[in-house]
Amino acid sequence: MNQPNRIDGGLIDRETVLKFQWNERWLTGHPGDTLASALLANGLRLVGRSFKYHRPRGIFTAGSEEPNALVELRKGSAREPNTRATTVELFDGLYATSQNHRGPLEWDVMAVNDLLAPFLSAGFYYKTFMWPKAFWEKLYEPMIRASAGLGRLSGREDPDSYDHGFLHADLLVIGAGPAGLTSALAAARGGARVILADEDFRWGGRLNSESYLLGDRPGADWAMEAASELAAMPNVRLLPRTTVYGAYDHGIYGALERKTDHLPDTGGTPRQVLWRIYSKRALLAAGATERSIAFGNNDRPGIMLAGAVRSYVNRYGVTPGRKVALFTNNEDGLRTASDLSAKGIDVTVLDTREGVHVVHTSGRKALKSITLSDGRTIQADCLAVSGGWSPNVHLTCHHRSRPVWQEEISAFIPGSDLPTGMTVTGAAAGTMTLGAIVRDAHAAGTEIASDFGHRGATGSAPTADDEPFDTKPFWYVQESRARAWVDLQNDVTAKDIRQSHQEGFRSVEHLKRYTTLGMATDQGKTANILGLAIMAEISGRTIPETGTTMFRPPYTPVPIGAFAGRARGKDFRPYRLTPSHDWAAENGADFVEAGLWLRAQWYRLPGEKGWRDSVDREVRTTRSAVGVCDVSTLGKIDIQGRDAADFLNRVYSNAFLKLPVGRVRYGLMLRDDGFAYDDGTSARLSETQFVMTTTTANAVTVFRELEFARQCLWPDLDVHLISTTDAWAQFSVAGPRARILISRIVDGLDVSNEAFPFMACTACTVLGGTPARLFRISFSGELAYEIAVPARYGNSMIQALMAAGKDLGVAPYGTEALGVMRVEKGHVAGNEINGQTTAEMMGLSGMVSQKKDAIGTAMSGREEMARIDGLQLVGFRPVDRSVALTAGAHFLSRGAPEDMAHDEGWMTSVAWSPELGHSIGLGFLKQGRLRHGETIRAFSPVRGQDILVEVCSPHHIDPEGVRQRG
C-alpha cells in the first residue's frame, strides 16, 4: 500500500483506497486518480514500448494526447487495446497490462530493433525486401506483419452494448476549462439552451492542473462552483466524460460519452453513448496542447511535458520525480518550477531563452541524468519539457479550413472559414493568458445568448491575472548527436525528417506519409508542429511557407462498436415478417432472408429427411391438388385518379390504357436507359383505381420512381399513389383444386371459369364479410388465384384456407417450391431481370410498345441492345438426366477454347422438376432461340463442373398455358 511518489494536495479522495492490477502486480491509488497518476504514485516509470524501435517509454502527458502510455485494459473479451493510461479513471479492481513487447516489458526482445535503427531509417522498407521476389510473400512480409500493431484485440465478440442518442441545443460548448465554463455560464444565464461537453471526468480543464486564482478562489474550486450552477439550470445539459470528436455539416456534431468506463463493470447498461448533437451555434473551447522539444534521447521514461508534470503535482498529488529539471522555451513552463517548489521539490531550470540546451540524456529504462550544451551533466529522474502550446484547432479543420500561423505565440490558430456556426474561444483561439481567456469567453457567451434574442443578465466574467506568456520559438537542439524524437509513438526522429527532405519528400503530406509522422494513435498531437517546424528549419523556409497541419475526425479515436450502436447481431437490420409468419413457424417452416423479409422457404413434415423432400412434395401437391403460398412480400401500390390508366401506360412498356375494369395485366417496366427493371401485375378495380404489384426486391425503389414520375415528369396528371405492401396479406392459391378451395372462402362470388376467367380480378368479401381482393393470376402455371385480405387477418386467413382445403389435400408451399414452379414455367424472376438484361433478351420484346412514350422505350432500341446475335433466354436440360445443373455456369460450344472470347452466356436459374424427374435450367445464350436442340457445355470451374446440356424452350411445362386458363 506504499505510494512512494504520492505528495500532499491534489483533487483526490485519500480516504478511499482503490486496488488495481498492473502487469499482474497489485497496486493502490485513490478516487480521482487516472491509471497514469496511480502508476506514477507507485513509482513506476517504464510503462510501454514504442512502435518501431521498442524503446522503453514512460508517461509523457496527462491527457488524451498521450503517445507513450498505451495499455491493454480489462481482461478476456472486454480487453481494450491501445488505451491511454492518462485518460483511464482509476476504479477498484482495474486490470491493465502493458503492450507491444515480446517477453516482459522490462526485457522486450524486440528492442533489438533499436540497435538496427541505422538501417531502419525513414522509408527503409520501400528500398529493400524486393529480391528474390518470392521472399516477400513468404518471408519478409510475414516478418513485418508479425511485429506490426500495438495492442491485441481479444478476437471475441465485444461483450458491451452501445447506444446512439440525439440532442438539440442553441449552443454546444466544447470543452469545460475556464473558457468553456465561462462562456457556457454567460450563454445559459442569458437564456440559451446550452450543452456543455468535456472529455475529462472533472470540470475545469487546466484549472485543475494549475495554481491559478479566479476571483479570490483557486481555479479548481471556481470550476466546481461554475459546474454546480450550470447543473442546476434547466436549460443546460452537462456531458462529462464526453469527447466531441467531429464537426459535420449544418451544425451536426458527433460526441462520444463514456458512461461506464470508469466503473468496474457496466451493470448491464450501455458502455458508451454516441451522441449526434444538432446545435445552431458551437463554441470551441478545447484549449491547447503542449509541445516538446527535440533533443538527443528525449524519449526516456521520466521525460514529460511540463504541463503534465504540473497536472500530476497539482491535481493528483503525485510527483513524477524527486530530482526534477525543467527545459523550457517559454514563460509558462517556468510555472512548473514555482509549483513544484511550493511542494518542496527543487527544480533545475534550463531556459532556451538563456542559451542553455539539453543535448543528451541517459538512463535506458528511466531517466538518470541529462547533459547540457555547456558540458554539465545533471542527475535527474524527471525532466519537464515545454516547447510552447498549440491551440487545439482540430474541430475547426473538419470542414477543411486551414489554420494560420501566428508568430506571437509560435502556433497555428483557427483559420477564417470555420464550420458554419462555430466560434472559437480561449486558448483554442490562441488567447494564452487566463485573464483574457475568461473575458473573451464571457463576451462570446453573452453575445451568443443575445443572438438568440435572449436578454437575460449574464453576470460578469471572473477576474484573473494576465500572467506573462512569453515564448521564443525553439524546436531542435542542433548540437545533439543522438537521435532526437519528434513523434514518440511512431519513432520518427529529427534525422528522419532531414532524410525525408533530402530525398525530396518536402511537402507536409509527403513528410507525414514517408516518415509516418503524426500517423499514430495520438494523431501527432504533440508531434506534428514540431515536425513541421524542423522541416521548415531544414529547408530554410518559414513554417507557413512549409505548410500547415490538417486534422480529420475523430479528435480522439472512437470505438467501432460505438459507431455501430445497437445495429449488431440479429439487430443489424430489422426483420419484416409476413402476415402468416406465426402460423408458418408453428407448422414446420424453415425461413430464409429475402431483403429484410423472412419468408418460409419450405415446410418440413415429420419424416422428411432433407429440404428436397419437402420442396418436391410441395410442388407435387400444388401441381396435383392445391397449394397455398404467402406472397405478401410483393410490393403493392394502390394507384388512383382519373389519369391512373394513363399513368400506368407511361410507366409500363406495354399498353395499359385500355385494360378493362375487372381485369389484370402483366406489366413490364424498363428503366429510363431501356433495360428491364421490374415486372408484376396491375389490376383494374375501377375506372380510376388500379392495384399494382412489384417484385419483392424492388418494391421500395419502384414506388420511389413512380412518385418521381408523378411529381416531376407529369405533375398535372390526376393520379395518386400509396404503398399498401404492409396493408394487405396476400396468398397464392394454386393447383387443379384451387377453384374449389377459393369457392369455399369467398362470400357468394361465382368463381367459375366463365364468370371469373384467367386474369380476372374483383373486390369481394371472404369468410362472412371480411373485405378481400381476388385476382386470378398464376406464377406457378397452375389454375391459380391470389387472395388478399387486410394484413391483420393474414394469420387467420392461412388457417382458414388450410381448414377449408383439408379434404382437398391442401398444403402450404414456400419460396423454394415457388421457384421450382416458375423455372418449370420459364417465368423470369430476379435472376433474369437483374438490371443487365433487356426485354429482347428475355423474349419479351413484344411487350415494348413502340406506339407510346413510356419510360425506357426510346433507349431500348439502341444498336447494341437490339442485336439479333445477342443473348437470349432459353431452357436447358442435362444430356445425362441424372446430373444436377447449377446456376452460374457459363456456356461454351463443344470444342471451343475455355476463354472469355468464347463465353456464350450463363445459367441464371436451375431447379429439379418433380414432374419431369430431372434437373432443368434457364439461362441466357447467344442466339439461343435459334439453337434449341443443340448440345453445349455448362462450364463451372469454381464448382468443378462441366456438364453437357441440351438447349430447349424455357417453358419446360405446359408451354401453351392450358392449366392456368382451365
Binding site: F51, E80, P81, N82, P118, F119, F124, Y125, K127, F129, M130, E137, I144, A148, G149, G151, R152, L153, R156, E157, D158, G246, R400, E503, G504, S507, E509, H510, T521, Q523, R552, P553, P554, P559, I560, G561, F563, A564, A567, R568, G569, F572, R573, V592, E593, D673, Y677, N831, G835, E863, T886, G888, H890, E898, M900, D903, W906, S940, P941, V942
Partner: protein
Amino acid sequence: MRYSALRLLKEGLTGNTGWAPAWRDPDPRPAYDIVIVGGGGHGLSTAYYLAKEFGEQNVAVLEKGWLGSGNIGRNTTIIRSNYLLEGNQPFYELSLKLWEGLEQDFNYNAMVSQRGILNLYHSDAQRDAYVRRGNAMHLSGADAILVDRPQLREMCPFLDFDNARFPIHGALWQPRGGTVRHDAVAWGYARGADSRGVDIVQNCEVTGFRIENGICSGVETTRGAIRARKVAVCVAGSSGRVMEQAGLRLPIESHVLQAFVSEGLKPVIPGVITFGAGHFYVSQSDKGGLVFGGDIDGYNTYAQRGNLPVVEDVCEGGMAIMPMIGRARLLRMWGGVMDMSMDGSPFIDRTPIEGLYFNGGWCYGGFKATPASGYCYAQLLATDQPHETARHYRLDRFRRGAPIDEKGAGAQPNLH
C-alpha cells in the same frame, strides 16, 4: 539511385546522408510531346509506361498539388481482379498481373501483398451470382475459389457464424487479391518516370486548354502556357471541373467516398474481407491498422469529407460480420472525391477534340486499376490504338447501348 538491401546497409553505416532525391523538382518547359494533367496514381503510371514501354520521354505530368495527392493517397489499398463482365475482367486481370511484377519493374517496394480477398455470400442467389463471377474470372485466366461455410470458418474463425442477421454461407475467394502500400505506388511510378526523363511538375494547376478548330494544342497553367501534341487528362474526382474547361460534359458525377483506419492492432485479419449483405470491406495494414470502407455518401460533392450516416452504416456492417472489432477504435476517417460514372465503369478514350484524351470514371475502384490504366492509356497516347483489354472503355458506349454495368443498377452513378 538503385535501391537494395546493400545500399541500405551502406547508408546505414554512413549516417543515411547519401540518399539522393527520389525525383527532380523541375520547372515546366514551354512544350512537350505529351502533357498529362493530373499527378495521381494513374497519371504517374501513364507517364512511367509512356517512357518505359513506348519510348515517349518528352512528357510532363502536371499536378496542382503534391504528387500523389489524389485518390492514390487516400484509399483502402485493395487490389483484385474479380469482375464479372467481359468489358472489365480482362483489364483488371492485366492490372493484377502488372501489380505482381511491379516492384522489380520499378525498383521500389510498394508492398504488394497477395493475402487474398474473400467476398462473403449470404444467400443461395448471391452464391449463384458469385459462381457466375468466379467462372468469368477463370475464363479470363484469373483465380477464383468458392469457399463453403466450414472452410470459411477455418480461415476466419472470428466471423459471426452463429448470430448474424444475414447468415454467412460462404465466400468467393481470390487468393491473388490483396493490398498494396498506396503512397508507395505513386512514389515508385514517379521515381521511375522521373529517372526516364519525364518532368513531374508539382503545384501547377491547369486552368484551361488551348483549343482551336477542334484541335487541342496545349494547356494554360498557373505556371504559364505549355504546348503539347497531345494532352491527356487523368484527374479522377476533378474530371467534371477540368473537362468543363474544354467544353465537354461527361457521363460522370463527383461523389465522396469515406474511408477509415483503426488504431494499430496485432494482426487479426488475414486478407481482405467484404460483406455481402451490407457495405463493408476491410483489410489490415502492415502497420496493424484495420483499413476499411463502405458505400459512398451518395450526393454530388467535391468537398473531400463525408457525413455521419455513412460512418455508422459502415461500422454497423463491420460489427455485423466481425463483432470482435467493437473495442477497436476508429483512428481517422477521410473522404475522397470519386468520379462516379453512369455505369460504374471507366473511360480510357480519345475525346471529340483532336489531341485531347480522357481517362476517368473510375468510381471507387481506381486504385487497383492503376498499373493497367497507365499502361493502356500510355498505349492509346503513343499509338492511338486502344489496348485490347481497354477497348470497351469508350465514351460513346452509352450512345451505342453498351454500358458495362457490373451491378445492373442503371444510369445513376450513386448506385454503382
